[in-house]
Every structure is written in structure tokens, then in C-alpha cells.
Amino acid sequence: MAVSDLVTRQAFADAPQRGAATRLLEDERWLAAVLLLPTVVLLGLFIAYPFVEGVWLAVTNATVGVPGKFVGLANFEALWNDSIFRTAVYNTFIYTAVATVFKLGLGLWLALLLNRNFRGKAFTRAFILLPFIIPTVLSTFAWKWMFDPTFSVINWTLFHFGLIHSRINWLGEPDLALISVIIVNVWRGVPFFAISLLAGLQTINPELEEAAAIDGARAWQRFWHVTWPLLLPVTMVVMLFSIIQTFADFQLVYVLTGGGPANATQLFATYAYQIGVGTGLLSQGAAVSLAMFPFLLIVVVVQLLYIRRVEVH
């Protein structure tokens, strides 16, 4: 055996061993396929498949334990004539619209306040997010307790400020109940808006505002003509996110009122739960849920188009 043989053999032993798998993974397409496999399997199994299953359920008359037969659009026809469903649709739109407007307005206000320099700013910002991070059902229970007509601390406060003279039944009267659930939804959503918009505000160069101030623009004009247009992209995205979440909300209403009194706070999701899980009419419940889909689709498409437009610019 020659010395050179030994040397080359040694060199080969040290060189990285590249098996068939490694070589395959050097190809971008194969690597991408392998990397995406777990995600595609999980999302396929628990998003795409349930969606197909949901569409199928919605066109059958299945109940719990009974597979059901194809009935066409009968479930949707029944919903169309169902007065509770109509109430739920109406409530959902009111709930989403009013809550979103207030979340945006108050969130923007809070963001502008937090965008100033003051002592304890980081601390305040951290605390303000609490309503958003604490489990919604749990904090909603605190609100339910605060709204309790007999023991309500809110009533006590209003009474002692001389604003009311008798008790207010926050969750017991139809109109008031809808207002109450909107208040809690706004309470939970404002921190999210504020912190996201604050992040947007911080990317805006303060020199722009200073320049406008030197040119004699008043505070309101500076906001409207300088800050707001620059903040608009972030605002749009945050708002569309929030609209989807609010539109499909369940837990807040489920805990506070369960959809009552007399369906005054019934939303798509609570009604779907009541029919599909409570009563066991799977196919009708699935139809109620799916009825949300067209609206959600519109919002998602708007969002995608908007993001693309912003990216192009």
C-alpha cells in the first residue's frame, strides 16, 4: 500500500458524507417540500378537511349520531325564514360596526397619548395590554360580576355621582345588554389597537410634524394632514383583523349573556353553538357557521388586495 493511498483515503474519510437525502435537500424545491410538509398536513387535516366536512354537513340533515341524507339547500332556506337567525345577523353587524368604530377611535386616542414622552411610559404601556393578554373568558367573568344588577359596583359609582337614581339591569334588558357586551368587547380590543397604532406612530419621522408646525399648522391639522395618512396602512390592517375577530366572536357573549335576553345579543357563533352543540342539530349549526363565510371572505380579499397595493408602492 502506497503512502499516497493512505492520504487520499484519509481525505475521503474526513470529507463530509453526503447521502442521497442530503443531496435531495440541496435542491431548493425538495427542501421546500420537506419543510412545508408538517404545516400542510396539519392545516389540511384540521382546516381544509373540516371546511369540506362543514359544507357537506350543511347540505345534509345530520344530527348527533345520525349521519343524515343530502337535503340540498334546505338548511339555508330554513335559516332564511328563521327570525332568530335574522336577529343574530342584525346583532352581529351592529356589534361589529359599533365595537370597531369605538376601538379604533379610543385606540387611536390612547396611542397618541402614549406616543408622548412621560415618566413611567414603558410601565404604562406594559400594563395597558393586560385586557388583551388575560384569558378573555376570565376577564369577562369579572365584567359579568361588575354588571350584576344587585351587587354592581358600576351602579354604586353612578349612583353616588348622582347620575342614576335606580338600579340599572345591565345584562337583563335587551338594548342595554347589547351595549354592555359591546363595552366589554371595546375594553378588550382597545389595547390591541393602541399598541399596534403606537408602533405605527413610532415609525413616523417626528421631523415631518415639526416641519408642519413651523409652517404654522395647528395640532389638529398636523394630525389630519401629516400623521393620519402615514398611519393609514397600519390602521387598515389592524382594523380588518379586528373586524374578523369581532364578527366571529363567541366567548365574550357566551359568558356574559349566552345570547339572551330574548336573543338580543345572539351572534352567528353563539347561535351556531346553541343549535349545533346545545340542541345537537349538527347540520343546521354548521349552516349557521358557514353563513359567516361570505362576509369573512370579503374582508380577507379586501385585506389581501390592500396589503398587495401597499407592497407595490
Binding site: P16, E26, E28, R29, A32, A33, L35, L36, P38, T39, V40, L42, F46, Y49, P50, F51, G54, L57, L106, W109, L113, L114, A122, I128, L130, P131, I133, P135, T136, V137, L138, S139, F141, W143, W145, M146, F151, S152, V153, N155, F159, R167, W187, F192, I195, A199, V237, V238, I244, Q245, F247, A248, F250, Q251, A269, V277, L282, G285, M292, L296
Partner: protein
């Protein structure tokens, strides 16, 4: 800062900010007070002359001890912790790989897949819970933690992927190319060059995913049925209301203690959490 007279500063800044803070934090204070208030003070109508809403002179730990010894609360906490941790790990694993592939590799359908994942990110849980309950039953996963561990990634993976794509895109390609010239495989370059740089992003995604799984409600409500399997949110809201009777002291104690793990993690990683939050909507 606001220019001009002192009163302006009060009217335009201090008063509104204080009002916001009180409004946003009062419910938590209320939880705390209620959970240490003895029953005989708790159930005193607000019209009563000796109603003391904002404090109690006879604080008690009874509600908390009752909650810990008389109910399955500790079990629920353990369940939630287990489910949230495993679901977060699975989602991070999938999200890192998918985020890397979608942001760094060129292949057909990359754009379409990215859009697809973004759309699943926007699918609310209430859209699919009924058919999903059927599927969970058919897979014999009903009433086990796996029903949640496998379904939570459906909203966590898209979030993690989307967030991490942003982080991966910001890392210069040259770094990876240098490693590849030195003989590293694509896989190794990803593992040893890109991943360490993306750690802050991974941390953000992980913390956010953990809080999202801790907060999830409707899947846990529908997929779990026996009291021992429940998560904190479902356990507190269903098992502590017996018939029509609300045990408010215990409920508020449960709400308070059930929030502590998220609040605890959040307090340590506020910056990462905020980065996750703002990154998630920037797209």
C-alpha cells in the same frame, strides 16, 4: 410634550390617560378584591348603606383555599399548561420550517402557498368548530388533550409562519451564501446560521402562541367533556357555576389565578410580546 399652560397639559394629557388606565385595569383590581372578600360582604346589595365597594376590612383566603382544595382547579391548570406548551412547540417547529421555506427558497406555488397560509391565519375558530368536533370524534380524540394539541396549531402555525417570514426576510442572504461556499449544506446553513439570528423572532412567536393557546375557549369547550380533562377557562366557567348559583368569590379567585401564568410570562417578555403583536399585523 404639550406646549402652553399647565391646565392644558392636564386636560389633554393626564386626565384622559388616567381615565384610560382606570377603565382598562379596574376589572383586574375588582377580581382581586372580590377573591379576598368574605361572602357576607360579597353579597351585600350596592344599595345597602354599609356597602364598601373598593376595599374590604376583613380579607380572607377562604375562596382561594376552597378553590384549590375543593375543586379540580390545579388539575385544570396542569392540563392547560401541558396543552399550551405542546401546541406551542409543535407550532413553532412547523412555523419555523414553513417560514424559512416561504421566505428564502424559490419554488413553484410559493406565492400561492404563502397566501393560503395567510388566509388560514384569518379563519376564526367559530367557523369550523362543528365539523371539527365531528372529525375529532371520528379520530377518537374527543375528551383527550390531543384534541386541542392537534387543533390549536391550526391558528398558531399560520401566525408563527407569518411572523417568522418577516424575521427571515430581514436576514441578509450573503450570510447563508458564505456558509454554503465554506461547504455547509442548505440544511446546516439554515440550522446554524439563520436560526440563531432569528432567535428573538422565534421567542416572540413562541410567547404569543403560548398566550393564544392559554386563552382559547370554544374548541376546549366543545371538544372536552369530563371535568378532569378541562382547561382553566372552561373549568372555571362551567364547573364553578352550579346550577344557577355563581360562587363569585371562587370564580374571581379562579380567574385571577388562571391569569397568572400568562401575566407572568408576559411580564418577563413584554418587548418580545409587543414585537410579536405588531409584527403579526404588519404582514
Amino acid at each position: 410634550m404639550i406646549e402652553g399652560a399647565k391646565w392644558r397639559r392636564w386636560v389633554y394629557f393626564y386626565i384622559p390617560l388616567s381615565a384610560f388606565i382606570i377603565w382598562l385595569l379596574f376589572p383586574f383590581y375588582w377580581m382581586l378584591v372580590t377573591s379576598v372578600r368574605p361572602d357576607r360582604e360579597l353579597y351585600r346589595p350596592w344599595m345597602a348603606p354599609n356597602y364598601t365597594p373598593f376595599w374590604t376590612l376583613h380579607p380572607t383566603l377562604r375562596h382561594i383555599t376552597d378553590l384549590l382544595t375543593g375543586t379540580l382547579f390545579i388539575r385544570w391548570m396542569a392540563n392547560t399548561l401541558f396543552i399550551a406548551c405542546v401546541a406551542t412547540l409543535i407550532s413553532l417547529f412547523c412555523g419555523i420550517l414553513a417560514g424559512y421555506a416561504l421566505s428564502r427558497l424559490k419554488f413553484r406555488f410559493a406565492g400561492a402557498l404563502g397566501t393560503g397560509i395567510f388566509i388560514t391565519y384569518l379563519v376564526p375558530q367559530t367557523l369550523l368548530f362543528i365539523p371539527l368536533a365531528n372529525i375529532i370524534r371520528n379520530f377518537h380524540l374527543g375528551d383527550t388533550p390531543w384534541a386541542l394539541i392537534l387543533t390549536y396549531p391550526t391558528f398558531l402555525i399560520p401566525f408563527c409562519t407569518w411572523l417568522l417570514m418577516g424575521y427571515f426576510k430581514a436576514i441578509p442572504r450573503e450570510l447563508e451564501e458564505c456558509a454554503r461556499i465554506d461547504g455547509a449544506t442548505r440544511w446546516k446553513a439554515m440550522l446554524y446560521i439563520i436560526m440563531p439570528i432569528a432567535v428573538p423572532g422565534i421567542l416572540s412567536a413562541g410567547i404569543f402562541a403560548f398566550t393564544l393557546s392559554w386563552n382559547e375557549y370554544i374548541y376546549a369547550l366543545v371538544f372536552l367533556s369530563s371535568a378532569e380533562q378541562k382547561t382553566v377557562s372552561v373549568g372555571v366557567t362551567s364547573e364553578l357555576v352550579r346550577g344557577d348559583v355563581f360562587y363569585w368569590g371562587q370564580l374571581m379567585a379562579g380567574a385571577l389565578l388562571g391569569s397568572i401564568p400568562v401575566a407572568f410570562i408576559y411580564s418577563f417578555f413584554v418587548e418580545y410580546y409587543v414585537a410579536g403583536l405588531t409584527g403579526s399585523v404588519k404582514g
